[in-house]
Amino acid sequence: MQFKRTMFVATAALAAGSAAATADDLTLCWAAWDPANALVELSKDFEAQSGHTMSFEFVPWPNFADRMLNELNSGGELCDLMIGDSQWIGLGAEAGHYIQLNDFFDAEGISMEDFLPATVTGYAEWPKGTPNYWALPAYADVVGWTYRKDWFEKPELQAEFEETYGRKLEAPKTLDELKDIATFFQERTIDGKTVYGAAIYTERGSEGITMGVTNVLYNYGFDYGTPEDPYKLEGVVNSPEAAEGLEFYKELYDCCTPPGSSDWYMSEDIDAYKSGQVALQMNFAFIWPGVEADPNVGGGKSGYFANPEGPNGHFAQLGGQGISVVSYSDSQDAALEYIKWFAQPEIQQRWWDMGGASAMRAVVEAPDFATSQPFAQTFLDSMAIVKDFWAEPAYASLLLAMQDHVHSYVVAGEGTAQEALDNLVSDWTEIFEDEGKM
């Protein structure tokens, strides 16, 4: 008996020892924003289950791409897991920064059919439209709109709006309606304070104005190539309809934004909205839980709507990210364990409950999902109409060219919309020629 007990204790000690020996310290890299804090909380469950410890490297959005792409390009071992932007997937795959996950998914029974198709295409696949997976959809995000429901419900404003525009003051269905509303609120005095129409993306340095203007361009007819020729730019990127869309965005900027909003992105838009400066706010859906919780604009004072349709389409700019295993990591097995844990439906449900945005169909297609949060239905509506920017390995060059030309036209007022898009086609053509794709 004594011998048996000794053997049991020894075996247990050995098992514990071996578990300790294989326990890794994983570092997960992502942007510094609210969902990242939720993920830290959520990951405590993984630490408890696996014995691995988690560290986090979060970088503010304006520096996120710079910092993390430098890390990947230099073969850095800082990050074991990377929640990288959707547009990085081409570079991550082709430059060998990420490991391909197909075999792992097959072995662990993780099916991409369990995730929203748009997020699989946007966050996981490279080349697009092929079943080659380099990430697990981690955070579903899309550009949508927030509006001051409490202002919209003021009877005197409703009456004046109806008299002016001949329709009710409510969430807009079209881009033209949106502009009318923004014009209506511009420089209006509400509760003794001058307010403005809309906070839109205009930021120059990283990706801001591109993430904003595409919400209008797509709906006017702009596209990235055609199904027959994915690199056909002439007449597609710079079509007269696309130029009209760009003119619309400039008009919206000129008529209806707060003074000094020439370099605004996510955080500036949030600040303007929460401080009661604007009636409408363009922003990614990740901010919605924060809006609901805000003492000034939350608790029913705000409403949400999907990006309104335009004359030639109805789309919204995809945001969000997939989670990948970095090929330079020394702890790839533990990193894969994390992905396996994260892909469980109950974890995904908790992810949504904690303020994350799950892309798992079991979560977002659950019967009570649409009523689970005031913005849940808008989130679903928006995710159904997403379109994403280029995810090519040269995406950074493509993005910077667009930032340059669009900002020069919309904010600086240089040239015409048609010239801006023609110049964009010229730059993009040069980039694709350098890449050997044209």
């Binding site: 060998g96 003074p259 000094g260 904010v411």
Partner: protein
């Protein structure tokens, strides 16, 4: 005691080594001492420069280390020199450089001249004046974006107070016409004290006896200023212009923080453009050529300027 230490050290040196060291010439010993520095200089400065020149003739991209690198000859240089956008950034840089130097020299010299006159609280004012340059450019950029904010910014309210204009009617960093001046104002605010200090050193180096002799010759204050003060502080002023010129040619942090290079490309200086090409677009070969062109420009201008400075000093 000392003798015994030397003796002990001598005894501890192996006879062969001692013989070898004794056999070295002064020149060889000098080379031994200098070689670590030369090696460091070669490794840190010269080798990267040669490597950059080599890369500038290729299509290399640092984010694709495994991709095939092609020799493109002078194509990168040709593209840069014929690119109207790059000429626009050159113009923006020249505009920024000229006006910042102009204002900094003008205001810096004036302040130094005032401080140089003995008055009560002289030291306190000197300390207050140099405060801006002690701050980090990132901090300065950040708080000036608030000062320039049309709705809450003190700068706009100040202008509104002076002119009667609506403070929200103009945006210093969002307007194409105003943004280049917005960055000039901030750089001038931050770096004028540097010019002041150098000018002050120049003014204080002028012996009082020269002014006393001028007084004896009944030279007016105006004449003393133009024939004594200005010529004798000119080498200091030129040095300040050289330092500030080189610094502002590579200006990056302050402008990125203030305007991000916008609106459009209005305040995109060459250093910002180069950084985008090199570390955002990852066109390493192209940006190497860009860097070489900038290097040659600065090096050429600085050499001409230093020659002029030496001539002034010789006078």
């Amino acid at each position: 005691m000392a003798d015994s230490m030397i003796e002990r050290a001598a005894m501890s040196t192996p006879p062969g080594t001692a013989r070898r060291i004794r056999g070295l010439s002064d020149r060889t010993i000098a080379w031994i001492f200098v070689s670590p520095t030369i090696f460091l200089l070669l490794a840190v400065n010269i080798f990267p420069l040669i490597w950059t020149i080599r890369l500038s003739f290729t299509n290399f991209r640092a984010n694709r280390p495994n991709a095939e690198v092609a020799w493109v000859g002078l194509r990168n240089y040709e593209r840069i020199l014929t690119d109207s956008d790059i000429w626009q950034t050159m113009q923006a840089t020249a505009h920024f450089l000229f006006w910042t130097l102009f204002f900094q020299v003008l205001i810096g010299f004036t302040l130094a001249w005032l401080i140089n006159r003995k008055f009560k609280g002289n030291d306190l004012w000197t300390t207050i004046i140099v405060l801006p340059m002690m701050l980090s450019p990132a901090v300065v950029g950040n708080f000036w974006t608030f000062l320039y904010q049309p709705q809450i910014g003190l700068f706009n309210y100040g202008i509104a107070f002076l002119t009667g204009a609506d403070p929200t009617s103009f945006s210093m960093i969002g307007d194409v016409a105003l943004a280049p001046w917005a960055i000039i104002i901030v750089d001038t605010w931050m770096w004028t004290p540097f010019v002041t200090l150098i000018c002050l050193a120049g003014l204080r180096s002028i012996p009082d006896s020269i002014y006393e002799a001028a007084e004896c010759d009944r030279a007016s204050n105006w004449r003393q200023f133009w024939t004594i003060t200005i010529p004798m502080t000119l080498p200091f002023l030129m040095l300040a212009v050289l330092f500030r010129g080189i610094e502002n040619f590579k200006m990056f942090d302050l402008v990125v923080q203030l305007t991000g290079g916008g609106p459009g490309n209005t305040t995109t200086l060459t250093s910002i453009d180069l950084k985008r090409e090199a570390f955002e677009k990852w066109r390493t070969g192209y940006s190497s050529a860009y860097a070489i062109i900038l290097f040659v420009t600065v090096f050429g201008l600085a050499s001409i300027y230093v020659k002029a400075l030496n001539k002034v000093k010789e006078r």
